[in-house]
């Protein structure tokens, strides 16, 4: 299992109610899962929990065999980049770096990701760019790319160096329908190719065809003891 959640509870420090209460959830290696649900239902908090950005109880989150909650804060950054590739809703590219340099960032900070490269960071990045039809834009700064191009670069950055788990948070919200279809096709295809588990959180309809499993947030999350 790439991801195991067990009795995951979380309440933001200044909130009255807990936002997460997930008794059990698992994701197998290489499995592609679409997690659906309306806004405000804890999707983003869930991603924060499994990437070690928020403090969770020991034993609640297990990613690739590591108990995230047991990691000291200083280890969590390194752990995240070693094992998880994240595609953000807002792309989160560094605008003044070239597309290629944005993609190779995880290799800068993670020896593990670097070690899992097929070739050099530059060549792997170029291979990913080619697979995403962006080969000609490798040296263009990210800020000069269109939304669709930025999203593909963000995907390539999450994929490089073969992390165990790819997490995408509303990755298609900024894309038009054609681009959405195209992007999801590329993302799931690349995840399958590298053998990574793919967890996409989205409330976009019509993405189901790209996934092995589709579940609703309300199926797994029971804040206040009731479904979201």
């Amino acid at each position: 299992m790439t991801l195991i959640l067990r009795d995951l509870r979380y309440q933001w420090p200044d909130a009255a109610e807990p936002v997460l209460n997930i008794p059990e959830f698992t994701l197998a290696a290489g499995e592609r899962l679409l997690l659906r649900g309306p806004s405000g239902c804890g999707k983003s908090t869930l991603l924060a929990a499994l990437s070690g950005v928020i403090d969770v109880a020991t034993g609640a989150v297990d990613v690739a065999g590591t108990d995230v909650g047991a990691l000291p804060p200083s280890r969590r950054d390194a752990f995240r980049v070693d094992h998880i590739g994240i595609v953000f809703q807002a792309f989160n590219l560094i605008p003044w770096l070239s597309a290629r340099d944005n993609i190779t960032l995880p290799c800068t900070f993670s020896a593990r990701r670097r070690g899992q490269l097929v070739m050099s960071p530059k060549e792997d990045a170029d291979a990913l760019l080619a697979a995403l039809n962006l080969a000609s834009l490798a040296d263009t700064v990210a800020g000069a790319l269109s939304h669709g191009q930025q999203q593909r670069v963000a995907a390539a950055r999450a994929l490089i160096g073969g992390p165990d788990l790819i997490v995408a948070d509303e990755p298609t919200s900024a894309l038009d329908p054609d681009a959405k279809e195209n992007f999801m096709h590329l993302l799931s295809g690349e995840a399958a190719r590298t053998g990574a588990a793919l967890l996409v959180v989205s409330h976009d309809p019509g993405l189901e065809s790209h996934f092995d499993r589709v579940i609703n947030m309300s199926d797994i999350n029971f804040p206040k003891g009731a479904p979201c």
Binding site: S44, L47, A48, S51, V53, I54, S74, D77, A78, R80, V81, D82, I86, F88, A90, N92, L93, I94, W96, L97, D101, L105, P106, T108, F109, S110, R113, R157, D169
Partner: protein, 529 residues
């Protein structure tokens, strides 16, 4: 990490380059002050080497040194030839060279001396003066010019030059009736000699003897010599030396003629010539006023009427054998019976360079001169005078250093401001970096790296800036002050200074780096996840 820092700085290249420029200026200033100081000291020390004592009328050691060795300012009063002979005859004295000063050639100091000067003067730790062209004095109207003078005006052997009265750059009193012919140009020494014009003592005297033509109407030109000096006109003035000089001569004569019939007045030191009419000569750089009285009385003491004729006779004579005398460096070769073997005996000289065969005799000579009953003289050890000079300039040097350190501090503060001011705007950048695995510590390191790159580039640019400035200003420095700033790569001291700037920059960068550490810790990825 370095790649990231470089890209990040490049992204803010406008502000970053301004910061780099300010650091570069500070570095150039710090090094420049050091080099200016070192070069000035080295140059001064080089100029003064080989001279054991400078004997001059009682005065300030530094002033005497500046006037005689560097041609800056004057020694004030003159001293008698008897004193020269006395000094020359001290037991431990190896050689003695008389010096006469007070004229300039287009702003460059003119020294009246003997051919022995070129034999005994040493520079840059014991090197001889070499002739680039020609040789020493051949006749009374011979002139030898320093390398800088030759290069600046394109003079060669055979060029006829005219000197002007006074030490300043601007003169209205041009001796165009007493031209000199260049017989030799000296090889460059990098010292004050490069910017001097040397003429023989008899030539120097003859220059002023020329004034002793019959007096014109005393009221002919009340303006004579009193025109205030004004910059910029000088070159034209000296180039065509066509106007005003007669005014000067007239004025000069005006106050000589009624005084008495001393023929030698004219070839005395200028101070003598001028003190008699202080009013009309305020424009000159000399300090006539303060020395007027002693000089005047000195004058009256020796009554060398008819000396001028003797001079003329001597000059004619001199043309025949002057060269031999110079070449062999034997004063005796002049063979003037009436002057104890000296080629020419000016009545008044300004200073004597003395070389000793036994340096332990210095104190004895100093004591003997101090107690000299006939004339108040100082015997200055150049090195001691230089130390005095450095102790005077030390305060100014320290002030300059302090200023340059303050500028460096300001520029480093500017760097901290640049790094700090952008932190808030870069929070998103930091959270992105954290999301791809950068720990707060990495981002701390990123800020420090940016600071070090900025400071490092600033230092390199500063060194380059200094080199460029040095190359540009050296001609001016060497023309006006007789020294150059070395082009050399930074020495150990300078490298230490640069390292200090770099380290302070590293320390200063800890402030914004610490802030960014706190920011990234509290922000996490939450802002964007």
């Amino acid at each position: 990490m370095l790649n990231l820092a470089l890209h990040s700085l490049w992204n803010r290249r406008f502000v970053a380059s301004l910061t780099i420029l300010s650091i570069a200026l500070a570095v150039a200033l710090i090094l420049g002050v050091e080099r200016l100081r070192d070069s000035a000291r080295a140059s001064f020390a080089n100029s003064a080497s080989g001279i054991d004592l400078i004997v001059a009328p009682r005065g300030n050691d530094v002033q005497i040194l500046m006037a005689t060795v560097f041609g800056v300012g004057s020694t004030g009063t003159g001293m008698t030839w008897q004193s020269f002979e006395q000094v020359e005859n001290f037991p431990a004295v190896d050689w003695a060279v008389p010096l006469m000063m007070g004229d300039n050639h287009r702003g460059y100091p003119v020294m009246g001396t003997t051919g022995a000067y070129f034999d005994h003067f040493r520079h840059s730790g014991g090197k001889d003066l070499d002739f680039a062209q020609g040789g020493g004095f051949e006749a009374a109207d011979s002139a030898v010019i320093g390398a800088e003078v030759a290069a600046r005006f394109g003079y060669n052997v055979g060029t006829v030059i005219v000197n002007a009265h006074g030490a300043g750059d601007v003169s209205f009193d041009v001796h165009d009736d007493a031209p000199f012919t260049v017989t030799g140009t000296l090889a460059a020494t990098g010292t004050a000699v490069d910017r001097m014009v040397f003429v023989s003592t008899e030539g120097f005297d003859a220059l002023h003897a020329a004034y002793d033509t019959p007096a014109a109407d005393p009221l002919a030109d009340p303006m004579g010599g009193d025109v205030p000096a004004s910059g910029g006109e000088n070159d034209a003035e000296n180039d065509d030396h066509a106007h005003n000089e007669h005014n000067g001569h007239d004025g000069h004569n005006d106050h000589e003629a009624p005084e008495d019939d001393h023929a030698e007045d004219g070839h005395d030191d200028h101070d003598d010539a001028h003190h008699e009419d202080e009013e009309s000569h305020k424009g000159h750089a000399h300090e006539e006023t303060s020395h007027a009285t002693p000089l005047h009385s000195e004058h009256e003491d020796h009554d060398d009427d008819g000396h001028a004729e003797e001079h003329e006779a001597h000059e004619a004579d001199h043309n025949d054998h002057a060269q031999d005398g110079h070449d062999e460096n034997e004063h005796e070769a002049y063979g003037h019976d009436d002057h104890e073997g000296h080629g020419h005996e000016p009545d008044q000289i300004n200073a004597i360079f003395v070389g000793l065969s036994d340096r332990s005799a210095i104190l004895g000579i100093q004591r003997a001169l101090q107690t000299n009953p006939t004339e108040a003289l100082s015997a200055v050890m150049p090195n001691v005078a230089l130390l005095q000079l450095w102790s005077i300039t030390g305060t100014a040097e320290n002030a300059l250093r302090l200023m340059s350190v303050a500028v460096a501090a300001a520029s480093l503060i500017g760097m901290v401001v640049m790094l700090s001011a952008t932190l808030d705007a870069r929070r998103r950048e930091f959270s992105i970096l954290r999301s791809v695995g950068a720990s707060p510590r990495s981002i701390f390191g990123l800020i420090v790296t940016e600071a070090l790159v900025t400071a490092g580039v600033g230092i390199l640019v500063g060194v380059a800036l200094l080199a460029a400035t040095t190359a540009l200003t050296n001609p001016i420095l060497s023309a006006d002050y007789g020294f150059r700033i070395s082009h050399a790569l930074p020495n150990i001291t300078e490298l230490t200074l640069l390292l200090a700037v770099f380290c302070v920059a590293a320390l200063a960068s800890l402030l914004p780096a610490w802030r960014v550490y706190r920011i990234t810790l509290s922000d996490g990825l939450a802002a964007k996840l």
